[in-house]
Symmetry: C2
Subunit: 93 residues, 2 copies
């Protein structure tokens, strides 16, 4: 299962913790955006609860969008700025 995970986190150390956790699930494609892979719904549910434990719900927000094949195939990228992409996730159109 492929998810786009993006976040607005008010506190620097919370933001770092979230980025560190997400980096174990897939590449960081923008400063606060990761493309994450989870082998099953249970793995994604576990990630969701770990993320919930890291943030302050009043100040922060994380959005997890399931990406189907169409989203991955139809991704449009404008601009060459990159952070860290693993080739197997990176689709250049």
């Amino acid at each position: 299962m492929h998810y786009l995970i993006c976040y607005d986190i008010a506190d620097d150390s919370r933001r770092d913790d979230v980025a560190t956790l997400l980096s174990g699930y897939g590449p960081r494609v923008q400063l606060s955006v990761f493309e994450c892979e989870a082998g099953s719904k249970a793995v994604m549910a576990e990630l969701r609860s770990k993320l919930g434990a890291l943030i302050d719900p009043a100040e922060d927000q994380i959005r997890m969008y399931p990406l189907g094949d169409r989203s991955a195939r139809g991704l449009l990228v404008i601009g060459a700025r990159t952070i860290e992409e693993r080739q197997d996730f990176w689709i250049i159109t």
Copy 2:
């Protein structure tokens, strides 16, 4: 057609210009994330070229993910921080 558009823009005024343009296509759901609606591929292609004209491709990056129904239905949101959501786009799970 529903798109998730997220961006890393190095320059403040370029970033403001991109946000202003995107706000005409849908709600800003995070600081640098919009959920945009386009009536047709032509409209989305026009938006893409307008965005391309606003950024510096060496310093900036915009990602446009087509979102199918599954993505919209399966959206998971953690945390209550909000910016500006129109109810018809906002799905609380």
